[in-house]
């Protein structure tokens, strides 16, 4: 299978999309951008390759009508098994790094105890891993840093011994150890990990009889042996200058978002993207070609990071903000969408006795008002209107946008894809594909 890769390196997350030679999406992956863009881009691409391999398995199973009943259970099992294997592999790397951090000179008086405690914590984390990837598990995040970090902190709090081994010492070890784990790519190749997961899933899959098990093994083997050949790739996004691609393989995220939105919703004429660091208002023609755009000035006021700060201030997850704001009974007028002043304004409002949800409703409206200004500058909101970027997953922002678009431009079809976070990467992959077609 020939594939074309698009990587969108954002300030918060890095996304990869794989297209086959017909332009069909065959895989996609996402990871946190961390402080190392090159690693983030490699991880996102690996993740996309994993889903591509799973999709091959899905296709192989679907090709055999006799496997219909097995396929339903096998694929989720395969994915869970893979994730658990992957998590454990990262956990082992974390253990090594924690041990190395514990050996530092500043801990010399508690070396022995600290190292024993680290091993104990990691062993318990390993047990918890099974729970994260159980059939009915709900995970708050798919990123190792978040999952492992949450478990580690709970255990660190439990086992810290004030006066001997402080919680701060343990949390400091984690902060130190997680960086190298995140900033290196596993030596175990993805194909190996997928292979191990396939083997494990085959042995644990509920048997549907001898014939079925054999057919399953044949189908899996076929999917496993298909060669995935990467033809070309294009990078985009905030960190695109640092992508390990030559210059001609780098496209502006504005063009990629325009094209990606066009492919997702072909009647799109206006695109709004609110990402972590910037907001872009884009007008495209009937072919998805950008005709005009505006983006926010140098500061990230009113972008995704702003919501991130607010969430931190309120001690909430960023995904909890929107639903909370939707419980508002009134919308507080917020003056500043300045990310730097966000905390101060929030505390001031709270001290005035205003309700958290009402303030949040105001904050969401303020963000969208800022985006409306960019939209107006770029040429308005034309039919159809597509909203992309991380903030498009926030229901309160979406509701405010619907309302303000209707007030200012009348009724518009507002498209939001559940996969909108991949819009830029999809556009980039399309650029890779079309460059190949032009060359051919």
């Amino acid at each position: 299978m020939k594939i074309f890769v698009g990587v969108d390196l954002g300030s918060t997350t890095t996304k990869a999309v794989l297209l086959d030679e017909h332009g069909e999406p065959v895989g996609r992956g996402i990871t946190n951008s961390r402080s190392n863009y090159e690693v983030a881009s490699r991880v996102a691409r690996q993740e996309a390759l994993v889903t591509a391999r799973f999709n091959l398995v899905r296709a192989a199973l679907a090709a055999d009508p006799e496997l219909e009943s097995v396929a339903e259970g096998f694929l989720p099992l395969l994915e869970r098994t893979f994730r658990r294997e992957q998590y454990r592999e990262q956990l082992e790397r974390l253990r090594v790094e924690l041990q190395s951090a514990a050996r530092r000179d500043r801990h010399r008086e508690i070396h022995g105890e600290l190292r024993d405690l680290v091993d104990r914590i990691v062993a318990e984390m390993d047990e918890l891993a099974g729970r994260h990837y159980g059939a009915l598990a709900v995970r708050k995040s798919d990123f190792f840093r978040d999952l492992a970090g949450a478990d580690y902190m709970i255990l660190a709090e439990r086992y810290a011994r004030p006066g001997e081994i402080e919680f701060e010492t343990l949390s400091g070890l984690f902060d130190r150890a997680i960086l190298p784990v995140e900033n290196s790519v596993s030596e175990t190749s993805v194909e190996d990990l997928v292979g191990r997961a396939l083997d494990a899933a085959l042995t644990t899959a509920p048997s549907g009889g001898q014939g079925e098990t054999e057919r399953l093994a044949v189908a899996v083997d076929e999917a496993r042996s298909t060669r995935i050949e990467e033809v070309s790739s294009v990078g985009t996004g905030y960190g695109r200058q640092r992508l390990p691609f030559p210059k001609e393989q780098i496209r502006s995220e504005i063009l990629c978002h325009g094209l990606g939105a066009h492919v997702m919703f072909p009647a799109t004429r206006t695109v709004l993207d609110i990402g972590g660091q910037d907001t872009k208002a884009i007008q495209v023609d009937e072919n998805g070609i950008v005709t005009s755009f505006q983006m926010n000035d140098r500061c990230a006021a009113g972008c995704g990071r702003y919501l991130g700060y607010i969430a931190d201030e309120m001690n909430l997850g960023v995904h909890e903000l929107g639903p909370l704001a939707q419980q508002a009974t009134t919308c507080v007028k917020i003056n500043s969408t300045c990310t730097v002043f966000a905390g101060a304004e929030l505390r001031e409002r709270l001290s005035l006795g205003q309700k958290r949800e009402d303030i949040l409703a105001g904050l969401h409206r303020a963000i969208v008002l800022r985006a409306m200004s960019l939209l107006a500058r770029s040429g308005g909101v034309e039919e159809e209107f597509t909203f992309t970027g991380g903030v498009a997953r926030n229901p309160a922002a979406v509701a405010a946008l619907h309302q303000l678009v209707a007030e200012n431009y009348g009724e518009r079809t507002v498209n939001i894809s559940p996969d909108s976070i991949y819009t830029g990467a999809l556009g980039a992959a399309l650029f890779a594909l079309s460059a190949e077609r032009k060359a051919a």
Partner: protein, 431 residues
């Protein structure tokens, strides 16, 4: 005074005109530094609508505060000066040229060449199209306690200089400006001398126009914005009406003629441009604190600015204006009223639309500087109108004149690249 003095551009191959300009500027600052000893009178004045020939006819030396500010920007000193001015109580939204100048003053008034600048004997405000200029000189008057001469310059709302406008300005020249200059210098106004200087101006102006219009060639031998700010230096400042100015433009023109004949591209911070990929018209002043980085964002993509409005702040010579010795005061009046920022928005749109057509531009870009109202007011409106009128897409970036805090390299680079890729993509579908 061009940006040349402060930070000698090591990477740029030196042409004779560059060295010449550098010498001229060094000489001028030397004259200024020694003014207290030589007794020459010093007048502070601004670039738009400057009355250089008239001042020269009285033997006074001009100091141009906004040139000093942009020089400080290029030499990375403006950040400190601006902080100094903010400490004095000037707000963050005030024009950063003003704050840079005030800060420089507070820190000893040392000019771009490292020599001290003399105090003014007169503040000559000969252009009121920028309201900030008036406030700026109010602040300087407080500092120096010297006389001020103000010439009120009518705005060209309908794009035309009417006779009554001209008569109004000439009347002020006769009753206000010339008497003040006579009073300060103790010299009588010498109209013949003024005529002789105006004649020299016109010669140099012809050559400047030839240089700027060489960009109509495809590919262009010059960059009319990043290179252009060097080309306009002597013309917009202390050297109009001098033989030095005439010689400089003769030399420059000969160089560009040679460049054109040899099919060589414009000079960039990294040497000669090899391939012209995009031809752009640029509206708005450049950023000075990251001038070279800003320039590279264009040159590295093969984008050449073929015409710009900023290089017309000291006069629209390419639209036919010449200093005319046969009507000395009237010509000065026309000059004061004819600079780019004195034009109403419809005239600015007309001008840029003409540039896009005449210079066969692929696109136009606006660098918006929020603290410079002379430029920024109405720019988005202009963008829309220009797009509609020419069918050529516009790009929009935001930076500042000399406040280094307001230059976000990643953001600006992102927008420029996105814009150029958009042009490329359009070209691809058109083909």
């Amino acid at each position: 005074m061009s940006p040349e003095t402060g930070a000698p551009p090591r990477e740029i191959p030196k042409e004779r005109s560059m060295l010449l300009q550098k010498e001229m500027i060094a000489g001028h600052y030397q004259d200024l530094a020694s003014a207290p000893e030589t007794g020459r009178k010093v007048v502070y004045t601004f670039v738009p609508g400057n009355l250089t020939e008239l001042m020269r006819s009285f033997d006074v030396l001009p100091v141009l505060p906004e040139i000093n500010a942009l020089q400080s920007g290029m030499r990375k000193l403006s950040g400190d000066y601006i902080s100094e001015a903010e400490k004095q109580g000037h707000s963050e939204d005030v024009c950063t040229y003003v704050k840079c100048d005030i800060g420089m003053l507070k820190q000893g008034n040392v000019g771009p060449t490292g020599q001290p600048l003399p105090e003014p004997d007169l503040l000559l405000l000969s252009y009121t199209g920028c309201f900030t200029f008036m406030k700026w000189f109010e602040l300087l008057r407080q500092e120096y306690d010297c006389p001020v001469a103000m010439l009120h310059v009518p705005y060209q709302a309908d794009g035309t200089i009417h006779d009554h406008h001209r008569a109004y300005v000439v009347e002020q020249l006769e009753s206000e400006i010339i008497p003040k200059l006579e009073q300060v210098t103790g010299q009588q106004f010498d109209e013949d001398r003024l005529r002789a200087e105006l004649e020299l101006s016109a010669v140099a102006e012809d050559d400047l126009v030839w240089v700027l219009e060489s960009a109509k060639n495809v590919p262009s031998p010059i960059d009319a914005y990043f290179g252009g700010v060097y080309y306009i230096g002597p013309m917009f400042t202390a050297f109009r009406g001098t033989q030095e100015g005439v010689d400089y433009y003769r030399t420059l023109r000969a160089e560009i003629e040679e460049r054109l004949a040899a099919g060589r591209g414009p000079i960039t911070p990294d040497g000669e441009l090899e391939e012209e990929r995009y031809r752009l018209v640029l509206e708005g002043p450049p950023n000075w604190t990251s001038f070279r980085d800003f320039w590279r964002m264009f040159s590295e993509e093969g984008a050449v600015v073929v015409a710009s409005s900023y290089t017309k702040v000291g006069g629209l010579y390419d639209r036919g204006f010449r200093h005319d010795p046969s009507r000395p005061l009237e010509t000065l009046a026309d000059y004061c009223m004819g600079c780019y920022t004195n034009l109403g928005l419809p005239s600015r749109v007309d001008l840029i639309a003409d540039y896009i057509r005449e210079y066969r531009a692929d696109g136009f870009m606006i660098n918006s500087v929020k603290s410079c109202n002379s430029f920024s007011v109405g720019q988005l409106l202009m963008l829309r109108q220009l797009e509609e009128r020419t069918g050529v897409p516009g790009g929009f970036i935001e930076s500042d004149l000399v406040d280094p805090r307001y230059f976000s390299a990643a953001n600006i680079k992102n927008r420029i690249e996105s814009y150029l890729q958009m042009l490329e993509q359009k070209r691809g579908t058109a083909a």
